[in-house]
């Protein structure tokens, strides 16, 4: 998108697959016959299988609002979409850009466009919920992101619904908001979620869940010879054990590898997802895992949380950048439920992986108060400012005080 990664550099060469002895076929699978065990490809080719793995991914949801088909209304899923956005933006008359949805895809597009264009663009992000990155962050953490992005010149409108896209001569010219306000728009980029590509699975009668193909812990579908994984399958949330879309690259890769292991006779189970993800906007990096406070409350948890400021390096080291972590715990079991990081340096955002590991291990507040991190003046905060430990200490104190009152 930004020209930082060229189209070619994000392409994993087919040579790598073919070199490993894998057959690569380019074409759309239009039909599967699960009885004869054949796959039909556009153009008329037919492939027989003993085992089939479905990894058909997802497609962006385009909300059914008036004007969604106007020229200049786009989304981003694959390389052709990125090329379309880039070629549209090359038109010097494109100045006003509205992004609908403030999830990680929109936020990254907005910041990349603002950062990399030679001319000034008016970029506005419109979000229906009360905050940016609503699936990752609570309002208190999202507010930090919003004010940072506003300082960078982006317009962020939360609690706003895009009611209608306005146009002239078939081209988009504006966005009418629920408030009655109209935003000028030469280009609108819509990223409000995705839906699994499950047409083939439905066609052959595989058991379906609310968010995609139903699979067991081994990626097996209801057909004994068909496995499935990635964005087209429904996942289970590791904490709530409820069905969830979980459409992120980590689970997609791991489910693919797990299916391969299953087929090779290994007995490894998929544990469920925590929706661990990251997002980089200008020099700010956000990462999150597990349940936010708001999500946990929706699931019926009573929570205790703590937010702590930290440093990317020891305080006296030049180049030190601030970062902040919020940890959310279940009051009843005292187990860690989730974490959110907003950082002005990239490296601390990876501390989210430690939070993920702690959630998977069922660590409690008390156990986290004795966590010792790897420490070095150039790569970490002082151990005395290690924020996971301090957040746990704060949560412990809160519980202690509640217990005494």
């Amino acid at each position: 998108m930004a020209g930082l990664a060229t189209g070619q550099s994000i392409v994993v060469a087919d040579k790598m697959l073919e070199g490993a002895g894998i057959g690569v076929v380019k074409g759309e699978v239009t039909r599967i016959d699960p009885v004869a065990k054949n796959v039909f490809v556009s153009g008329g080719d037919l492939f027989s299988y003993d085992k089939l793995y479905l990894a058909t991914g997802a497609s962006p949801i385009m909300p059914p609002i008036e004007g969604i088909d106007l020229d200049g209304v786009m989304t981003l899923r694959g390389l052709p979409d990125a090329e379309k956005i880039k070629s549209r933006i090359a038109d010097k008359e494109v100045v006003n850009i509205v992004l609908i949805g403030a999830g990680f895809i929109s936020m990254e597009i907005a910041s990349l466009l603002a950062e990399n264009m030679e001319r000034k663009l008016n970029i506005t992000v419109v979000e229906f919920m009360n905050r940016t990155l609503p699936l990752m962050l609570d309002k208190d953490m999202a507010d930090l992101v919003q004010s940072y992005l506003e300082d960078k010149g982006l317009g962020i409108l939360t609690n706003q619904k895009a009611e209608k896209l306005l146009g002239r001569n078939g081209k988009v010219t504006g966005v009418l908001l629920g408030s009655g306000e109209t935003l000028d728009a030469d280009m609108v980029v819509v990223n409000v979620g995705a839906r699994g590509n499950v047409e083939l699975a439905e066609q052959i009668g595989l058991e379906m869940g609310r968010f995609g193909i139903k699979v067991n812990k081994y990626q097996e579908t209801s057909d004994p010879d068909i496995l499935a994984g990635g964005d087209c399958v429904e996942k289970i949330n590791f904490i709530t054990r409820k069905p969830t879309p979980g459409r992120l690259r980590g689970p997609a890769v791991m489910q693919g590898r797990l299916a391969a292991k299953r087929l090779a006779g290994y007995d490894v189970e998929f544990p469920g997802v925590l929706d661990a993800g990251g997002c980089k906007m200008f020099d700010m990096t956000v990462s999150a895992t597990g349940l936010s406070e708001e999500h946990a409350a929706r699931e019926g948890f009573e929570t205790v949380s703590a937010t702590v400021d930290s440093r990317s390096k020891h305080a006296m080291i030049p180049g030190m950048k601030p970062w902040k972590i919020k940890l959310v715990f279940d009051k009843k079991t005292q187990k860690l439920l989730g974490g959110q990081i907003v950082s002005h340096a990239v490296a601390p955002a990876r501390e989210i992986d430690a939070v993920t590991a702690f959630i998977l291990a069922g660590k409690t507040i008390a156990e986290l108060t004795t966590f010792t991190s790897a420490c070095n003046p150039d790569i970490s905060s002082e151990p005395s400012a290690e924020p996971i430990t301090i957040a746990a200490e704060q949560a412990l104190q809160k519980l202690h005080q509640l217990g005494r009152s």
Partner: protein, 56 residues
């Protein structure tokens, strides 16, 4: 068709058998690479409609 229980054992793909993978990106690509690594004797084919195997 009900979901098979997690205790099912007859899932392994055998030597000389064919594994076809529909989709070759986030999930299909790694599935193909690891399947071929663990089971070199299995015939693995990926079919994808996108022009390239891209990393999003």
């Amino acid at each position: 068709m009900g979901l098979r229980g997690c205790d099912s054992k007859e899932i392994d793909v055998k030597s000389g058998e064919k594994l076809v993978i529909v989709g070759c990106s986030g999930s299909g690509g790694p599935a193909a690479m690891l399947a071929k690594k663990l089971m070199p004797e299995v015939d693995v084919t990926v079919i994808r409609k996108e022009e390239f195997f891209i990393v999003r």
